[in-house]
């Protein structure tokens, strides 16, 4: 055990001497209050330590003690429905221990040592197993079966394994490793957060992560195992969009990291998720969710660790063969924490004071996403999708964090404050956003949602971009100067925006749209354009067309319950045809 003495304190950075025996990135206990810290730089026997708790009142001469272990998370039953801080301390347990405020130096295990789980083995005694093989299962919640796996890098023969009720630290069986050593099997394992968990190989993503959000699924889809970024100025709806994805994305497990954001947002998730019902499983959404909360008033260094803690937990579930979605809100706060530590270490700054290694750290983080074949002999497939929010100062994405993020991610949902002011939500700008998965996922949508999906998408995108061009003209010469077909185009694009893209997160029905409902809506808004254009050619008046009563029904389609979608669609589609035919007749009557 190596112990040193504090020689310098500057905010969350503490320097200790006498630390020659300690390793880089060891977790240390700082001062008499035993604050948790991590060594981030070594010079001679002086170690620079980032401290994960408030350092006020710490003086020079106090001791620093190394635990000789890197910062690790505990992985096992008890993660789901938990709320943890940036270094995986359970916040609800802390609240019960010390009250409503977070005091310092609290030592509490991440996973409850008292909770009892029922373990059911699924391998025979005497089987030879390797890292990643499933030994048995624990029903953690109604919808999550927690698979107990052989830790990576380990292989051997199962000597004993018992069904029964266990605490996470109890021995549930024994393994004889290939080297002949005995290894006690427990429900819990540990993994260092800064190292990605290993997998057999990576696959390229080809299945969409369906989110029930129309602008995302229809225009800018994300794949299972993909990475997306949501940059936007404040008030443009980043957090609501992240919450919507966490609620409705078709994932088995959701890890939500609140990194340097508002405390009330985490409270909102804690209050709301247990009440919401997952449309796929019929169970509460909380039963698949893990929360990491390091709010903006909590110590800054733990903010840096929080995204690693979150993604390691997500990888663990990915290794079980699940599709995991991770939301990080916001990566800009993480980058700022990095900048603050870098400044205190007196490193030479790169752009805007951020350290020169910002881009590579970000890339390393996002690269831990992906669709993979896990370790283990059954070749399970798991996926980890990462959706990161970015909070660019002033909404200007030319700043370093946005730019470094854009170089990595495949999907970009650009939030637009102008849309937000008009209360067009989600305020994802359809002209600047993109998804590089759109083509590869198009095949899936055509095969599974409707064969005309990609055609409809292309038509909508075309109308929207033509609207933007026409809008310039309207601004100069007025709507009346447009030709009838152009006016129709503007109307059709408006219908796409208002009737399809606009989606109310707080409306009980509109908050989630199945792919079938999305398809019906896409068909309706494009049918309006196609059929009206034909009617126009047959002599119908444009003023007549834009005021058709059926358009109100199209506008209200989003509020139709899922079970009535098909019937209503058929009715409205027929009504649209009829009213357009009437419009043509009226013209001919003159």
């Amino acid at each position: 055990m190596s112990t040193g003495v504090i020689t310098k304190i500057s905010g969350p950075l503490v320097v200790a001497s006498g630390m020659r025996d300690a390793n880089m990135f060891d977790v240390v206990r700082v001062s008499n209050s035993r604050l948790i810290g991590e060594i981030i730089e070594m010079r001679g026997d002086r170690a620079s330590i980032q401290v994960y708790e408030e350092t006020s009142g710490i003086g020079t001469g106090e001791p620093v003690e190394s635990t000789e272990e890197p910062l690790s998370v505990e992985l096992g039953p008890g993660l789901i429905q938990g709320i943890f801080d940036g270094i995986q301390r359970p916040l609800n347990v802390i609240r019960d221990m010390v009250g409503n405020n977070l005091t310092r130096g609290i030592e509490v295990p991440a996973l409850s040592r008292d909770a009892v789980w029922h373990f059911t083995p699924c391998v025979e005694i005497g089987t030879h197993v390797t890292g990643g093989d499933i030994l048995g299962t624990v029903e953690e919640t109604d919808i999550v079966t927690h698979k107990i796996m052989v830790p990576p890098l380990l292989s051997g023969t199962v000597r004993s394994l018992y069904e029964g009720d266990y605490k996470v630290t109890d021995k549930i069986g024994e393994l004889v490793t290939d080297k002949g050593e005995e290894y006690p099997i427990k429900l819990m394992q540990k993994w260092p957060v800064r190292k990605g968990r290993p997998y057999a190989n990576k696959l390229s993503p080809d299945v969409p992560l369906v989110t029930g959000q129309r602008v995302v699924d229809a225009l800018f889809p994300i794949a299972k195992g993909g990475v997306a970024a949501i940059p936007g100025p404040f008030g443009s709806g980043k957090t609501v969009t992240q919450h919507q994805l966490a609620k409705w994305a078709e994932a088995d497990i959701v890890v939500y990291i609140g990194c340097g954001e508002r405390g009330n947002e985490m409270t909102d998730v804690l209050n709301e998720f247990p009440e919401l019902i997952d449309p796929h499983t019929g169970k509460s959404l909380m039963e698949r969710t893990v929360l990491i909360a390091n709010t903006s008033d909590m110590p800054v260094a733990a903010r840096e660790a929080s995204i690693y803690t979150g993604i390691t937990i997500a990888e663990y579930f990915r290794d079980m063969g699940y599709s995991v979605a991770l939301m990080a809100d916001s990566t800009s706060r993480w980058a700022e924490a990095l900048r603050e530590m870098s400044g205190r270490l007196e490193e030479m700054p790169g752009e805007e004071g951020y350290p020169a290694y910002l881009a590579s750290r970000l890339a390393q983080f996002y690269e831990r996403a992906g669709r993979v074949i896990s370790l283990g002999s059954d070749k399970r497939e798991g996926a980890l999708s990462v959706i990161g929010a970015v909070s660019p100062p002033g909404g200007d994405i030319s700043e370093p964090v946005s730019q470094a993020t854009l170089r990595i991610v495949k999907v970009f949902w650009g939030l637009d404050s102008a849309l937000a002011y008009k209360r067009h939500f989600p305020a994802i700008n359809w002209l600047t956003s993109y998804s590089l998965y759109a083509d590869s996922l198009g095949k899936w949508f055509n095969a599974n949602a409707g064969e005309d999906w990609t055609k409809l998408r292309a038509e909508m995108m075309k109308l929207l971009s033509e609207e933007a061009a026409l809008d310039e003209i309207v601004k100069l010469v007025g709507m009346d100067a447009l030709s009838a077909p152009d006016r129709l185009k503007m109307e059709a694009a408006r219908s796409i925006r208002e009737d399809f893209l606009h989606q109310l997160a707080f409306h009980e029905i509109d908050t989630y749209s199945s792919l079938n409902k999305q398809l019906c809506m896409m068909r309706l808004v494009t049918q309006f354009y196609d059929d009206a254009l034909a009617a126009l050619e047959q002599g119908a008046a444009i003023d007549d067309i834009v005021t058709l009563p059926v358009r109100e029904a199209i506008g209200r389609f989003k509020y139709i319950k899922e079970e009535n979608v098909n019937a209503e669609y058929a009715a409205i589609s027929a009504e649209l045809k009829k009213q357009l035919a009437d419009a043509v007749d009226r013209k001919e009557a003159f």
Binding site: T7, K8, I9, S10, V15, E54, T55, S56, G57, I58, G59, T60, G61, L91, N92, I94, R95, N101, L102, T103, P233, F234, G235, G258, G260, R262, G263, N264, M266, T267, D268, T295, S296, D297, P299, E336, R339, E340, G343, P349, G353, S391, P393, G394, S417, A420, Y421, K422, R423, H424, V474, L476, V477, G478, M479, A481, F506, G555, R556, Y559
Partner: protein
């Protein structure tokens, strides 16, 4: 008796270096004694070996390297707390300046506060009726929210904040309330405006004032909001009161922060403000809220003036990322004579959705709110077009929208600083305005509500 040091090595701006210290702790409070016996306060910013870097809270005038003495007090900056603080006026460091007696503290608390456990927060969802339509109807304030006013020089933010403080109430409730007011670098006139306003409604007895005026040491401002919030936390969570905290002006606070950062030669972030300004502001704003199992609450209205009316300036920008919305005042509306000049489109209350609706305000609130926003946005677009092309270029429907936008500003927003509207009045005015538009345009309102309210007087 704490050790006294006569080893002041240098004084530069707000910073002082003391050598050969022992056992000094980070963030510890210190006291400087001048040769004439005058005492000034400071705190430790950094300890490196036997050197302590110290930040002064008051002016450096008169400090002498040879004969001034420094003592470290072994504690952090604290504020003595007692219910007797209500009705009193303190300076920016928490010392009484109203000529009254010293406060006999019931307890002392570290002014830096302790972060609230997010698992112990209780989500703010109680509607506060401010009597201002642009806030109640469209950017609803709820108890425990932090909702800043983004203003600019020459705009009536003080009038609006005073109006909110005067009129705010939770309907059907008769609970203990208090106002904590922190003035940071504002003028005597502005500060006095608030005092007179509190006095006229009899709220002065329930107000705690911390006053750091423009001619007080700028560096003292760094402690002022922390003092105010420590008092607010005590009143809210120990004494069960509902506390409204008004902090004005955050821009002056941030400038003081920049002064210290520049003196330390730190790598600056945008516009010279320190890279940790987000964290620093968050440690102030996040102290608002509600806690499980506590009756009291802290609702916060920070006021900041945007330099050059620029919303992307670091101070409003970082504030907007932390607070739960913002009320933005517009110079254009003010020139038109709209008062309060609330620019409703970029204004936002993030917590409104949980605070409105049936049982809280009225069931038509949410739908009409969305409709008013989108109709006003479209009306403004139409008016812009009209400026370029003349009225003739607008379609009939756009003409209606333009008329709606005008009426909306005139009737809905411009209510004056003396009118106190109930939420029902606000909603009814909203319906009256929406009746300008044909029913088929009101896509964001459900049929059922339209049947009940549309076109009815």
């Amino acid at each position: 008796m704490p050790k006294e040091y006569r080893t002041i090595q240098e004084v530069a701006g707000p910073l002082m270096l003391v050598r050969e210290v022992e056992g000094v702790a980070y963030n510890e409070l210190g006291e400087i004694e001048l040769a004439n016996g005058e005492k000034r306060r400071c705190r430790v910013l950094e300890v490196d070996g036997s050197n302590a870097l110290v930040q002064l809270f008051e002016s450096a005038t008169g400090i002498n390297l040879a004969n001034s003495k420094v003592r470290f007090l072994g504690r952090q900056m604290e504020l003595g707390l007692s219910p007797d603080m209500l009705g009193r006026v303190f300076d920016g460091l928490g010392r009484p300046i109203d000529g009254g007696p010293e406060i006999i503290p019931e307890k002392r608390a570290d002014v830096n506060g302790v972060p609230m456990n997010p698992a112990a927060r209780s989500y703010p969802q109680e509607f506060i009726q401010t009597g201002v339509s642009a806030i109640d109807g469209l950017n609803t304030l709820v108890r425990g929210q932090k909702l800043p006013i983004f203003s600019a020089s020459g705009l009536p933010h003080a009038e609006l904040a005073a109006q909110i403080a005067r009129q705010s109430k939770v309907r059907g409730a008769n609970e203990q309330f208090a106002v904590v007011f922190a003035a940071m670098g504002i003028t005597f006139e502005e500060s006095n405006f608030f005092v007179e306003s509190f006095r006229s409604t009899g709220a002065l007895d329930r107000t705690v004032m911390f006053s750091n005026l423009a001619n007080d040491p700028a560096i003292e401002r760094i402690a002022t909001p922390k003092m105010a919030l420590t008092a607010a936390e005590y009143l809210a969570f120990d004494k069960g009161m509902h506390v409204l905290v008004i902090l004005t002006d955050i821009t002056n606070y941030a400038d003081a922060l920049r002064e210290v950062s520049a003196a330390r030669k730190e790598v600056p972030g945008r516009r010279g403000y320190p890279g940790y300004m987000y964290t620093d502001l968050a440690s102030i704003y996040e102290r608002a809220g509600r806690q499980n199992g506590k009756t009291g609450s802290i609702t916060m209205i920070p006021i900041l003036t945007m330099p050059e009316d620029d919303k992307t300036h670091p101070i409003p920008d970082l504030t907007g990322y932390i607070t739960e919305g913002q009320i933005i005042l517009s110079r254009e509306l003010y020139r038109k004579g709209v008062n309060p000049p609330v620019d409703v489109l970029p204004s936002l209350s993030r917590l409104k959705d949980k605070g409105i609706g049936e049982g809280k305000t009225r069931k038509d609130h949410s739908n009409t709110m969305n409709q008013l926003f989108s109709a006003y946005a479209r009306g403004k677009d139409a008016k812009e077009l009209m400026v370029i092309l003349g009225e003739a270029a607008l379609t009939d429907i756009d003409k209606l929208y333009a008329k709606f936008a005008d009426e909306f500003e005139k009737v809905y927003v411009s209510q004056g600083f003396e009118t106190n509207r109930s939420i029902e009045e606000t909603l009814d005015i909203g319906w009256k305005l929406l009746s300008i538009l044909p029913r088929s345009e009101l896509k964001r309102i459900s049929d059922e509500l339209l049947d009940q309210y549309y076109g009815k007087e």
